[in-house]
């Protein structure tokens, strides 16, 4: 694991700082006091259910929206008042956007390269993104995956320090999704900080160094993927079929217990390692055998559902 803290001390400047960001549409708060810091070289995930305020948050970082309140800094720049300087260091791939239907891939790359003072050479970039065979193809004729790769290329063409990727793999088949993940790791390996908006748990767990879980416009949790799983109430799941009935009072008294479920004589408990030890002690004391005993770690999925449920309550 890299140490973001050590990097921060050396650099003294985080690449993205969001402090108490607020944004309402028609009086309804969409982003309601969001704060986070992204360190240089991180893949930072913004995770949350649909309508949680993820896209609005990153649009404030990109300078596409003006916050109602709060502070946003991108490499120390204000995306609203220093928009041009911000856009030179930040490349963006938007959730829903297109290009001119009759513009070819090559023309799009050349056009967007001309927008930046020190662009990357588009040829190796197209090569890396597997677009070389499609250079003379018009945008309207590209497949969904090819369009996404072109948009990644356009986000990178200005040689940015940060790229914001919003729902990048939505609509891609599993193979294309995995290729895209490798590409994102590749981008980070080249020193570019990645702000990744997603609602795919697997994607966030695989790619992100840290994740901010946003729910109802607020940060429900901010941690590493492993940390989010660990800190969620039902991080460990124990299931078994007891050889004799167990008293519910005994089960309810188990330490750190998050949930109990009975189904077809099988009991499923969630809790922590402490709960596991207590269950085994309990079974031994009652002389009950646990058939098909399974102890599994929760996934980010479970943690996410747990975290967003808490915020809803």
């Amino acid at each position: 694991m890299r140490s973001p803290r050590a990097r921060r001390d050396a650099d003294a400047m985080p690449v993205i700082e969001v402090t108490d960001l607020r944004k309402s549409y028609a009086g309804r708060p969409v982003v309601d006091g969001v704060s986070f810091i992204v360190e240089e070289g991180e893949i930072f995930g913004v995770l949350g259910p649909n309508g949680a305020g993820k896209t609005t948050t990153v649009e404030c970082v990109e300078g596409l929206r003006v916050p109602d309140a709060g502070r946003v800094r991108v490499t120390g720049l204000d995306p609203v008042t220093e928009d041009e300087a911000t856009r030179r260091v930040l490349g963006a791939q938007l959730q829903e956007s297109e290009l001119q239907a009759r513009l070819t891939v090559r023309e799009a790359l050349e056009l967007y390269a001309a927008f930046y003072p020190r662009p990357l050479d588009w040829r190796p970039l197209a090569e890396r993104l597997g677009l070389t065979a499609k250079l003379t193809t018009r945008f309207a004729k590209l497949s969904g995956g090819q369009k996404q790769r072109l948009f990644i290329a356009l986000a990178l063409i200005g040689n940015p320090r940060i790229v914001v990727l919003d729902e990048l793999t939505t609509g891609l088949d599993p193979r294309a999704r995995r290729d895209t993940w490798e590409l994102i790791e590749d981008i980070r390996a080249n020193g570019v900080t990645v702000l990744l908006v997603t609602h795919f748990m697997e994607e966030a767990q695989r790619l992100c160094d840290r994740i901010a879980v946003i729910d109802k416009g607020r940060i429900a949790a901010l941690d590493t993927p492993a940390g989010l799983i660990r800190r969620s109430a039902g991080a460990t799941v124990i299931s078994f079929t007891p050889s004799a009935p167990l008293d519910d009072r005994d089960l309810n008294a188990l330490p750190a217990l998050a949930s109990i479920e009975h189904k077809d004589g099988r009991i499923t408990l969630s809790g922590t390692d402490e709960t596991v030890n207590a269950v085994i002690t309990l079974l031994a004391r009652c002389h009950i055998t646990a058939h098909q005993l399974r102890v599994t770690d929760a996934t980010l999925d479970d943690a996410f559902l747990d975290l967003t449920k808490e915020a809803a309550a």
């Binding site: 856009r87 930040l90 938007l94 001119q100 967007y112 001309a114 930046y116």
Partner: protein
């Protein structure tokens, strides 16, 4: 370089893209001249007409066809393209780069303005070569009137784009404005042949004023300041409206 309202890479790109739109190219560049050729093929239209002060119908129709290209480009083609750019997030995508999306707006205006002027030039040349219509005898006045008309047509197109949430609406508003604009330009009845009261009213519309100004310059007079003033007033008014109502997303 990048904060500029005009970006040469964007302009070049939009010029190239217009060349790939055979529909727009036909209606802006060829259709007006084609109409002129059809009208000129009617023998009686090539005879001097006493009700036109001895001019031939074909003489009067050259300025009308010059205006037709401007109307198609400014009112029909440009607003639809630009509204589509907004609808499909192309303007928004450009907002994330150091180049402002206004570069795309200005490129569209320049490209369609240039196409409309090329169409006007074609109509003048074909009128001269095929039907012996004299070139404007006050060329400078003609050019001034034509440029002001291009500006008014583009400003009108920008207002249509500003008021249209979708490409479909832009098409509908465009068509609704298209026919009155063609009428005022004199497509059905040249402004000189309109009854006095009607001509007086039409002269206060952008294309009616343009038609009169072009006719005067064609005949060798400096276009009336009143007509040029009407064009300037419309351009200012429409530009202000477009700036007020235009949305980038």
């Amino acid at each position: 370089m990048s904060t500029a309202v005009i970006n040469s890479a964007v302009l070049k790109g939009e010029f190239r893209l217009l060349r790939r739109e055979p529909g727009s190219l036909f209606w802006i560049l060829l259709f007006p001249t084609l109409l002129l050729v059809i009208l000129g093929s009617i023998p009686s239209f090539r005879d001097p007409d006493p009700s036109l002060d001895g001019l031939r119908v074909i003489d009067v129709y050259v300025p009308v066809t010059v205006l037709l290209g401007l109307i198609v480009g400014g009112i029909q083609a440009m607003p639809q393209t630009l509204t589509g750019y907004r609808e499909r997030g192309i303007l928004r995508r450009m907002s994330t780069t150091p180049v402002r999306p206004v570069a795309l707006l200005s490129a569209q205006m320049l490209v369609y303005g240039a196409a409309a002027l090329a169409s006007a030039l074609l109509a003048l040349v074909v009128g001269r070569l095929a039907f012996d219509v004299r070139l404007p005898e006050q060329p400078f006045g003609y050019a001034v009137a034509l440029l002001l008309t291009v500006l008014a047509a583009l400003a009108l197109g920008a207002v249509i784009c500003a008021l249209s949430p979708t490409t479909k609406v832009a098409g509908a508003i465009g068509s609704a404005v298209f026919f009155p604009a063609m009428f005022c330009a004199g497509v059905w009845m040249p402004v000189q042949t309109m009854p006095d009261v009607l001509a007086r009213i039409v002269e206060y519309t952008p294309f009616g004023a343009a038609s009169q100004a072009l006719n005067q310059a064609a005949a060798g007079d400096w276009p009336g300041w009143g007509h040029l003033g009407v064009l300037v007033a419309w351009t200012v008014l429409l530009t202000a409206g477009a700036a007020r109502w235009f949305r980038w997303e």
